[in-house]
C-alpha cells in the first residue's frame, strides 16, 4: 500500500520537480519550496474575530483547496494575502523574502499574486479583449502604459486565453453584456493574463454548468506545477475533482488539513460541516 | 452702567490736582460734613429748596464761571432733586424759557418742545423752537457736573446707581471725592461697590507722601482688573522714588497682567466657542443628510438662508413684536426650510440615490434657483433683521471680560438644538427608522420601514435644522441672498472633519474649528486664519479620511 501511495505521490500532476521551476523573479525566493507563509494571522472587525491565529502554508506548484462553512474566514484570508486587509497580528510572506504586509495591492499583484474574486468584477464598459489586455502582465507604470502597444506575441497570448476561456467569439462585446458564467470565465482569463506565480481563485464554480465546471477543473489542474493555485470552493464535487490537499477553515483558523478522504472522514470536520 | 463706561473711557487720567494733603483733608471733611448734613437733615430741605430757587437762575448767565458755581451750589444744596437736575443739565434738557427766563425741562415734541418746570414738574405747555434758550455748558463744566452727579448718587439707595457713581469716581484724587468715597465705604454693603470704592481710594492714596500708605494702596490694587488701577500703577513705576514701592508696584502689575492674559484667553475661548456654535448649527443639518443618508446637499446654505429670511419676514409681518419675533421665527423657519427640504428630496434627490456626484450637481442647481428666487421675490440687496432687545448688551463678568448676550444665547441655543436632535435620533421611532435605513436599507424595508418616507422626513429634518440655524445667523451677520454660500464649505469641513454620520463628531469638530480659527486670528488675521483652517483640514483628511469620529458600519461611501 505504501508503495502504491508513493507512486501516486510521484505521479501527481502538480508535483514540482526542481528542474521544472519556471523563470522566477529574482526577488521571489522559492528555495525552500514554499510560496506562501501565513503565520499566526489574526484580524478582527468591530470585535468579531474573523481570522484567529491562522497558519497556512502553500508549496510551490501546489493545487490547494480551501473549504469551510460560511463565515470561516476564507475570503478574509484572501483579502489579507492580496493586501486589501491588514491583519492585527501575524506575518505573511511570499516566498522567503517578500513581506506581503509591507506592500499595497498593486505591488502584491506585480510581485506575482493574482486573484479571481467571488463576485465577478470585470470592467463592464470595456470589451472582453480590453479586459484581458488590461490584466496582461508587463510593465504597469504610467508612462510605459501610455506608450504601450500590443506586440504580436502579446496578441497571440490574448487569443490563446480567449480560446481557453471560450470567449473568442465575444471578444469585442462589452464585458457588462456577458452572462454571469461568462463573466466568471473572463475573470479567470484575466487571472491567466496576469501570469502570476500564485493564483487565488475564489469560488470559480459558482454559476457554472457541469461542463463548464469540468473545463475549469481541467484548467486549474493544468495550471498547477508552473503556477501555485489556491482554490476556495463550496462545491464538494468540484473540490474532489481537483484537490490533492484540502484545508478546512473554521472560525478563522485551520480545522483540518490533508487529502480529500482524510478531511472528509475527520470527525471534527463532520461535526462542523454535517457531512457534505 | 453708563457711569462705569464713562469711567473706563477716561483711561489715562493722572491725578490732575496735586493740592497739599492738609488742605485736601480739611476741604474733604468739610464737604463730608456738609453732605452728611444734607442727607440727614430734612429740615434743611425747605431751606435748600429756597436755595435751589435762587441758584437755578444763575444758569442762565453767560459766564461759565458763574454757571460752574451754580452747579456746585446745586450739588451742595442737599436737595434730593439736585442729581436729576444736574443730569438734565448734562443731557441738554435743562433750558430756560425765553419769555421769563424760567428754568424748565424741555422735551422735544414735533417741531417744538413741551416744557415742564424744572423744580416742580408743573406742565407748562408747548412752545416752538425759538421759545427756549439753551443753557450752554463747556467741557470743564461737564466734568464737574459728572463728578457732582457721582458724588450725589454715591449714597443713592439703588446699588446700581452707587456702582455707577463709584466707578465714575475712580481715578480722581481730589479731597472731596476721596472723602466721599471713604464715608460711603464705611457703610457700604454691596460687595462690588465696596471694591470700586476701595480701588478709588487706593488710587488716590498712591499719591500719598507716606510710602507705607503707598504700599498699602498697591496691595489693595493688586489683582484688580480695572484699567485705571493698571494705568496708575504703570505711571507710578515711572515716578516712584523708593525701590521697595517700585518693586511692589511691578509685582502688582505683573499679577494684573497675568490675570488680564487669562481673561483674554477666556474671551478668545468664548469667541471661538461662539463661532464654533454657529458652525455646529450650520453643519448639523448637513451631518444628518450627508452622514445618515449619504446625500450631498449643496443647497444646504440656501436652506439656512431661507431660515434667515423667514425671520425677516416674521419681523416684517409683526413689526411691533420684535422681541417675540425669534420665538415665532424658529418654528416658522423649521417648517419653511423643512418643507423646501422635503420638496427637494421628493422632487430631485430620490431619483439620484447611489449617485452622490450627480446629487451634488443637482442640488447645486437647486441652490442657484433658490438664490435667484429670493433675489426676484424679495430683493437682491441685503435685508435688515433686527435684534430683539433682550439680545443686546453683554454680561460683564469683570472689567476686562464682557460676554455679549447674542453670542451667549446662540451658544446655548446651538447646544439645545444639538441635544434635541440627539434625542430625536436616539429616542424617537423616527430616529430609529432613520438609523436603520442608513445602515441597511434593504433590511429595514424588509422589516416594514417605509424607507421612502423616512428619507423624505430625514431630509426634511436636516433642512429644518438648517432653517433654524438661519434664524440664529440672522442675529449675527448680514442677511442676503448670498449668505448661504459662505456657510456651505464651512459646514462640509465641519462634517468631514468631525466624522461623517456622527453627530458628536459634528459638535466637537465644529467647536474645535471655531476655537482654532479664533486662536489663530490675533496672529494671522481673520482671512488667513480661515485659509489655514481649510488647509489644515485638507491635510487632516489625508491622515484620517474618515474624520475624527468615523462612523461604524455603513459609511457614506462614494
Amino acid at each position: 500500500m505504501r508503495a502504491l501511495d508513493q507512486l501516486r505521490e510521484a505521479m501527481r500532476p502538480d508535483r514540482q520537480w526542481s528542474f521544472m521551476y519556471s523563470q522566477l523573479d529574482l526577488d521571489l525566493d522559492l528555495s525552500h519550496g514554499q510560496i506562501l507563509y501565513l503565520e499566526d494571522i489574526s484580524v478582527s472587525f468591530d470585535g468579531f474575530k474573523a481570522i484567529n491565529s491562522l497558519n497556512f502554508y502553500v508549496d510551490v506548484g501546489e493545487l490547494r483547496c480551501v473549504i469551510g462553512p460560511n463565515g470561516a474566514g476564507k475570503t478574509t484570508m484572501m483579502d489579507i494575502i492580496t493586501g486589501k486587509t491588514r491583519p492585527d497580528t501575524g506575518t505573511a510572506f511570499f516566498g522567503q523574502r517578500i513581506d506581503l504586509l509591507q506592500l499595497n495591492e498593486a505591488e502584491i499583484a506585480q510581485a506575482g499574486i493574482g486573484r479571481k474574486f467571488q463576485k465577478p468584477t470585470v470592467f463592464e464598459h470595456h470589451s472582453v479583449d480590453e479586459n484581458l489586455e488590461l490584466a496582461m502582465a508587463g510593465d504597469k507604470r504610467v508612462l510605459p502604459t501610455l506608450f504601450a502597444r500590443l506586440s504580436s506575441a502579446q496578441r497571440e497570448r490574448i487569443d490563446e486565453v480567449l480560446e481557453t476561456i471560450g470567449l473568442a467569439a465575444r471578444r469585442d462585446r462589452p464585458a457588462g453584456a456577458l452572462s454571469h458564467g461568462q463573466k466568471q470565465w473572463l475573470e479567470i482569463g484575466m487571472l491567466l493574463m496576469q501570469n502570476p506565480h500564485l493564483l487565488l481563485v475564489d469560488e470559480p464554480a459558482a454559476g457554472m454548468t457541469h461542463q463548464e465546471m469540468d473545463r475549469t477543473a481541467e484548467l486549474l489542474r493544468s495550471l498547477a506545477g508552473r503556477h501555485s493555485v489556491v482554490v476556495v470552493e463550496h462545491d464538494m464535487d468540484f473540490v474532489r475533482s481537483i484537490a490533492r490537499r484540502v484545508t478546512v477553515l473554521h472560525q478563522g483558523s485551520v480545522l483540518a488539513e490533508g487529502s480529500m478522504d482524510e478531511v472528509q472522514n475527520d470527525p471534527r470536520v463532520i461535526e462542523v460541516y454535517l457531512g457534505e | 452702567m453708563l457711569g462705569r463706561r464713562l469711567a473706563q473711557a477716561r483711561v489715562t487720567s493722572r491725578p490732575f490736582l496735586r493740592v497739599p494733603r492738609a488742605i485736601r483733608e480739611t476741604l474733604g471733611s468739610a464737604g463730608l460734613i456738609l453732605i452728611l448734613a444734607c442727607l440727614f437733615a430734612p429740615p434743611w430741605v425747605a431751606a435748600a429748596e429756597a436755595g435751589l430757587d435762587a441758584v437755578l437762575p444763575q444758569l442762565t448767565e453767560r459766564s461759565f464761571k458763574v454757571k460752574e458755581q451754580a452747579v456746585s451750589d446745586i450739588a451742595a444744596s442737599g436737595d434730593p432733586r439736585a442729581a436729576e437736575l444736574l443730569k438734565a443739565l448734562l443731557a441738554g434738557d435743562l433750558t430756560s424759557r425765553k419769555a421769563d427766563d424760567r428754568i424748565v425741562l424741555a422735551e422735544r415734541v414735533g417741531k417744538g418742545y413741551r416744557l415742564t418746570d424744572a423744580l416742580s414738574g408743573e406742565d407748562l405747555g408747548d412752545v416752538d423752537r425759538r421759545g427756549v434758550k439753551r443753557i450752554t455748558i463747556n467741557n470743564r463744566m461737564r466734568v464737574a457736573i459728572r463728578a457732582a452727579i457721582a458724588t450725589l448718587t454715591l449714597a443713592s439707595p439703588d446699588p446700581e446707581k452707587r456702582r455707577a457713581a463709584a466707578a465714575e469716581m475712580i481715578g480722581r484724587d481730589d479731597a472731596d471725592t476721596v472723602a466721599a468715597m471713604r464715608a460711603q465705604l464705611v457703610q457700604e454693603a454691596d460687595a462690588e461697590v465696596r471694591e470700586l470704592l476701595t480701588i478709588g481710594i487706593a488710587i488716590a492714596e498712591l499719591g500719598d507722601a507716606d510710602s507705607a500708605v503707598r504700599l498699602r494702596a498697591i496691595d489693595a490694587l493688586g489683582g484688580s482688573l480695572y484699567p485705571q488701577a493698571r494705568n496708575v500703577l504703570t505711571a507710578l513705576l515711572d515716578d516712584e522714588p523708593e525701590a521697595e514701592v517700585r518693586a511692589a508696584a511691578k509685582q502688582a502689575l505683573d499679577d494684573i497682567d497675568a490675570l488680564i492674559a487669562v481673561n483674554r484667553a477666556a474671551e478668545t475661548l468664548f469667541f471661538g466657542l461662539s463661532l464654533g456654535s454657529v458652525l455646529v448649527l450650520a453643519a448639523i443639518g448637513l451631518a444628518i443628510t450627508f452622514g445618515v443618508m449619504g446625500v450631498i446637499n449643496m443647497a444646504h446654505g440656501e436652506l439656512i438662508m431661507l431660515g434667515a429670511y423667514t425671520t425677516y419676514l416674521v419681523q416684517l409681518a409683526l413689526p411691533e413684536w420684535v422681541d417675540w419675533s425669534l420665538l415665532i421665527a424658529v418654528p416658522a423657519a423649521f417648517i419653511v426650510s423643512g418643507l423646501f427640504g422635503i420638496a427637494i428630496e421628493r422632487g430631485v434627490i430620490r431619483f439620484l440615490y447611489g449617485r452622490p456626484l450627480e446629487t451634488l450637481l443637482a442640488t447645486f442647481g437647486i441652490s442657484l434657483i433658490l438664490q435667484q428666487l429670493v433675489r426676484t421675490v424679495i430683493s437682491a440687496q441685503n435685508v435688515v433683521v433686527e435684534n430683539p432687545s433682550w439680545m443686546s448688551g453683554s454680561l460683564q463678568v469683570n472689567p476686562v471680560l464682557a460676554l455679549t448676550y447674542n453670542r451667549l444665547y446662540i451658544l446655548i441655543f446651538a447646544l439645545l438644538v444639538f441635544f434635541a436632535l440627539l434625542v430625536v435620533l436616539k429616542r424617537t421611532p423616527l430616529g430609529l427608522q432613520v438609523r436603520a435605513v442608513s445602515q441597511n436599507r434593504a433590511m429595514a424595508r424588509a422589516m416594514g420601514v417605509r424607507s421612502a418616507r423616512v428619507d423624505a422626513l430625514t431630509f426634511g429634518l436636516g433642512a429644518g435644522i438648517a432653517g433654524v440655524a438661519g434664524v440664529a445667523l440672522s442675529q449675527l451677520t448680514n442677511v442676503g441672498p448670498n449668505m448661504g454660500q459662505a456657510y456651505i464649505i464651512d459646514s462640509f469641513m465641519v462634517v468631514v472633519f468631525g466624522g461623517v454620520g456622527n453627530l458628536w463628531g459634528t459638535l466637537v469638530g465644529g467647536l474645535t474649528l471655531g476655537v482654532a480659527n479664533k486662536v489663530m486670528e490675533p496672529w494671522t488675521g481673520a482671512v488667513l486664519a480661515k485659509i489655514l483652517v481649510l488647509v489644515f483640514i485638507i491635510l487632516f483628511i489625508q491622515r484620517r479620511p474618515r474624520g475624527l469620529f468615523p462612523q461604524r458600519g455603513r459609511a457614506a461611501e462614494g
Partner: protein, 368 residues
C-alpha cells in the same frame, strides 16, 4: 497625418475639428479682409468672444479628461485656469512698463498705490515671455501635483475629493483677494497694453489670439484623445468603473490619477493664459467656487467621457449665458440651476448622448 490619428473613430471629434478648421480660416477673413459695414463682417468684439469661448472649451476638455474618463469630479479646476491666467496677467502687467497711471517702469500701478518700493520676488523675470509661459504651465501643474499627491495617496475619492477641490479653490480665492499677496487684490490685474509687442486692442492681435486659442484647443484635444485611446486611457476608465479592481491587477492607481490630474491642470492653465489677454483682466473672482462648479455643468450638458461633448457643452452654455444676460439677466441663474437639475436627472449622457441615440450607437463609454 499621424498627428490626427487619435481622431480615428471619433466622429464627433472629427466634425469638431472640421468646424474648427473652418473657423480658423473664416474668422480672420471675415474680420480683417471683409470691410466693416458689410453684413458678413465679423466684429472684433465677436472675434474676441469666440476666442474666449474656445479657451473655455479647452478648460472643459481638461475637466472631461479627469471626470468623464477617470471619475474625479474636480470642483476646483477654475483654480488652475485662474493660476495660468494670473501668470499671463503678470507678464502683461510687466509689459505695461511706464505707460501705467503712475508711470513707474517697473512697478505695476496697484503696487505703487500700495506704496510698495520694489517688486516681490515672484514678479521678477515675469517680463520675459518664456518664463511667464513656463509659469503658466508649471504653477497649476505643481499645485495639482501636490494636492493630488496628498489626496490620491490617502485614497480620498468621490464626494470627499470634490469637496476638497472646492475648499482648495475657495482658500485660493480668499488669499488672492488680499492686497498683501501681491496680485492686485480684489481688483486683480488689468489695463494691459500689449503682448509680445503687439497692441492688445488691435484687430490683428485679437485675431491672432483667436487663432492661438483655436490651435491650443486643437492640440489639447488631440493630446487628450491620444491619452484616452491609449492603454493608459483604458486604465483610466477602469479606474473610473472599479478602482479597487485595477489595483489588484497591478496598476498603481495613485500614480495614474496624479499624472493625468496634473496634465489636466496644465491644460487648464494654458486655457487661462489665453483667456486673460482676450478679456483684458484677471481677478480673484475667477477663483470662486461657483465658477468651478459651473464649468462642470458645461461638460455634463455636452456629454461627459466624449471630449467633443465638453467642447459642445462649453460653447452652448456660454452662448446661452451671453444671450440670457443680454435679454433677461434675472432669468439666467434660474436657467443655469434648472440645467443642473435637468441634465443630472434626465440627460446623463448630455447632448452627445442625444446625438448617439439618434445614430443608434452607444457613445460616451470611453471605448476607443
Amino acid at each position: 497625418m499621424a498627428l490626427l490619428r487619435p481622431l480615428r473613430g471619433d466622429t464627433g471629434g472629427q466634425i469638431m475639428f472640421g468646424v474648427l478648421a473652418l473657423a480658423m480660416v473664416l474668422v480672420p477673413v471675415l474680420n480683417l479682409a471683409v470691410p466693416e459695414g458689410n453684413p458678413l463682417h465679423l466684429s472684433t468684439f465677436t472675434v474676441t468672444l469666440l476666442g474666449k469661448y474656445l479657451t473655455y472649451a479647452l478648460l472643459a476638455v481638461a475637466v472631461d479628461l479627469v471626470w468623464g474618463y477617470m471619475g474625479i469630479l474636480s470642483l476646483g479646476h477654475g483654480a488652475f485656469f485662474a493660476l495660468g491666467g494670473y501668470a499671463m496677467g503678470m507678464y502683461l502687467m510687466r509689459q505695461i512698463g511706464d505707460r501705467g497711471v503712475y508711470g513707474d517702469p517697473i512697478l505695476p500701478d496697484f503696487m505703487v498705490f500700495l506704496n510698495w518700493k520694489e517688486l516681490p520676488w515672484f514678479w521678477h523675470g515675469m517680463d520675459m515671455f518664456w518664463l511667464a509661459a513656463l509659469m503658466v504651465v508649471l504653477v497649476p501643474g505643481l499645485l495639482a501635483f501636490v494636492f493630488g499627491a496628498l489626496a490620491f495617496r490617502s485614497r480620498v475619492t468621490g464626494v470627499y475629493l470634490s469637496i476638497m477641490t472646492q475648499a482648495l479653490t475657495y482658500a485660493l480665492m480668499l488669499a488672492f483677494f488680499r492686497n498683501e499677496m501681491g496680485f492686485g487684490g480684489n481688483n486683480g490685474l488689468t489695463d494691459f497694453k500689449d503682448i509680445l509687442g503687439f497692441d492688445l486692442q488691435a484687430d490683428g492681435t485679437r485675431v491672432a489670439l483667436f487663432l492661438a486659442s483655436a490651435l491650443a484647443l486643437a492640440l489639447g484635444y488631440l493630446a487628450c484623445r491620444w491619452i484616452v485611446t491609449s492603454r493608459l486611457g483604458r486604465v483610466m476608465v477602469a479606474i473610473r468603473d472599479s478602482e479597487a479592481r485595477v489595483r489588484f491587477i497591478g496598476y498603481r492607481v495613485e500614480y495614474v490619477k496624479l499624472a493625468v490630474f496634473t496634465f489636466s491642470a496644465m491644460l487648464a492653465g494654458i486655457a487661462g493664459a489665453l483667456y486673460v489677454p482676450q478679456v483684458g483682466i484677471i481677478n480673484p473672482g475667477e477663483l470662486s467656487p461657483l465658477n468651478s462648479i459651473e464649468l462642470v455643468i458645461w461638460v455634463a450638458i455636452g456629454g461627459r467621457a466624449t471630449l467633443y461633448g465638453a467642447v459642445i457643452g462649453a460653447l452652448v452654455v456660454n452662448y446661452g449665458k451671453s444671450v440670457f444676460t443680454g435679454i433677461l439677466p434675472e432669468a439666467w441663474l434660474f436657467v443655469l440651476g434648472g440645467l443642473f437639475v435637468l441634465v443630472t436627472l434626465f440627460l446623463p449622457r448630455g447632448i452627445a448622448g442625444i446625438a448617439a441615440m439618434l445614430r443608434r450607437r452607444p457613445a460616451g463609454e470611453g471605448t476607443a
